[in-house]
């Protein structure tokens, strides 16, 4: 048996639709928790409306946000996984079918950067990155659509042999530049080291980690706690109109590299779009989140 074109097409389209209509459970829980701690009254009310808005979208199977973004997938491919048919074509066709059938319909956000024309299709769409999982007989697919709030304010800078305060200050500068614009409270992903492209990939993957899970690197456990505390003291708060809840989580990944050290920082807005499923060789589909 094998993982078919049809199955990948169906699962990738479903993951996208679900990411637009409901927020992850850990995120809802984080918003409720932030609401209980928030000392700013406007901020507290805003957090409450966020939860109400997410619940209403889920109940009515409507969109949480109208900026449905562009489709972004991350596929971890088991080395024992077998395929029947074209994988990349299946993802592309799944998105096209979703656009044609989803209710309510989506706004056209796919933009040609050379002509600024917008539509539902474009070169390189859907954006998909791949990784390998040794020994697994499945593929693990994460969908995390990127829209303006969750995409526009990311930044990357390359340092030479930076110490930890230098890295952390760059994260803070990026957070300040983004300010109220990425729809806080945000999830922040940081990638340290590796190469230019790999740091960005690590930062993006860091945003996909479940809120509340603990980093395996003790130095980063402390860094994440320090950054979260500093970010929540900036005062931007929910939607940037004031409060203590600017970030729900800071997640940091690292990789060894040369002494030049890229540091990438990216954001997920409060709706924290993220869905994941696992497709097995025998045709089973496991919804992970």
């Amino acid at each position: 048996m094998a993982i078919t074109y049809e199955l990948i097409k169906q699962v990738t389209a479903q993951l996208y639709e679900r990411s637009l209509k409901q927020i992850p459970d850990d995120t809802r829980q984080a918003l409720v928790g932030a609401g209980a701690r928030e000392t700013n009254e406007t901020g507290r009310r805003t957090l409450q409306i966020m939860v109400e808005s997410a619940d209403a979208a889920r109940r009515k199977q409507s969109l949480v946000c109208s900026d449905s973004g562009v489709p972004v997938y991350f596929m971890q491919i088991g080395t024992q996984a077998r395929f029947e048919g074209n994988v990349k074509q299946a993802i592309e066709d799944g998105f096209a079918e979703l656009v044609a059938t989803i209710d309510p319909p989506l706004l056209p956000h796919v933009t040609n950067p050379l002509t600024l024309e917008r539509g539902y299709q474009g070169k390189g769409m859907p954006i998909t990155t791949f990784d390998l999982v040794d020994g697994a007989d499945y593929i693990d697919i994460t969908c995390s659509p990127k829209a303006l709030g969750s995409g526009r304010w990311a930044a990357l800078e390359i340092f030479s042999f930076p110490d930890l305060p230098t890295i952390e200050n760059f994260v803070m500068e990026t957070v300040l530049k983004a300010g109220s614009q990425p729809c806080p409270p945000v999830v922040i992903g940081v990638g340290i080291g590796g190469s230019f492209d790999y740091a960005a990939k690590m930062a993006k993957e860091a945003t996909l980690r479940k809120i509340g899970t603990v980093n395996r690197e003790p130095i980063l456990v402390e860094m994440e706690a320090r950054l979260l505390q500093r970010i929540n003291k900036t005062g931007f708060g929910p939607m940037g109109t004031g409060g203590d809840s600017t970030s729900m989580a800071v997640h940091v990944n690292y990789s060894a590299g040369h002494g030049f050290t890229p540091v990438a920082v990216c954001f997920n807005c409060w709706i924290n779009r993220r869905t994941r499923a696992r497709c097995y060789n025998d045709g089973r589909v496991e919804i992970m989140e």
């Binding site: 109400e52 109208s66 056209p108 300010g179 005062g235 931007f236 940037g240």
Partner: protein
């Protein structure tokens, strides 16, 4: 400090706008005009320069940076949903629009810069922060589609006049007295970062 929630009929007058303070919340009834288009704002400036007519009367309007999905069936437009977009993209356009159209309310999400806040103070205008990711709740407030302008544009770039009931609550992010929560918070955070570095 306790915040005040106002229920007000739009479009706001300059007098209405001046009663609001940064941090207050507002629930919106009445008529609003919305668009999320950067090209739309460029066209608005062309209209001010008499290069083409405005698609509808925007004088004294409550003009919000909200996108919409509009669909035409049998000559009738329906709006399936609305949601705010990031207003800072319109920083270069808003001071002229606020002054020359005498806008008394604008808004979206993310705020506007000091040049806009200054124009707002002169015109008697407030900036209202809508919930990003509030698509389902905000759309429930739509009562009637009154007018759809520039139908040749992409749906979220069109200019749409709506009658709404109970839209919000929204937060006054910039008031008509020069208080801009966005720049105040950013400046304080920057001073804090400088002190830490």
């Amino acid at each position: 400090m306790s915040i005040t929630t106002h229920r007000m009929t739009f479009p706001l007058t300059a007098e209405d706008a001046r009663t609001l303070r940064a941090g207050d919340q507002v629930i919106i009834d009445g008529e609003i005009i919305i668009t999320a288009g950067l090209p739309t704002h460029a066209r608005f400036l062309d209209c001010l320069d008499d290069k083409e007519p405005f698609p509808m009367d925007l004088h004294g309007a409550s003009l919000f940076h909200l996108g919409s999905y509009s669909r035409e069936t049998d000559g009738q437009f329906e709006i399936l949903y609305i949601n705010p977009t990031t207003s800072t993209r319109f920083n270069p356009h808003m001071p002229r629009l606020i002054r020359e159209l005498k806008l008394h309310a604008t808004g979206g999400k993310g705020g506007l810069d000091e040049a806009s806040a200054k124009a707002m103070q002169e015109a008697g205008c407030v900036y209202l922060s809508f919930l990003g990711g509030g698509c389902t709740l905000l759309s429930e407030a739509i009562e009637e589609v009154l007018e759809v302008g520039w139908r040749d544009m992409l749906t979220h770039y069109r200019v749409v006049r709506l009658r709404v009931k109970g839209l919000g609550p929204v937060t006054v992010g910039i008031d008509a007295h020069g208080n801009n929560l966005y720049t105040q918070i950013r400046d304080a955070a920057q001073a804090q970062l400088k002190a830490q570095s």
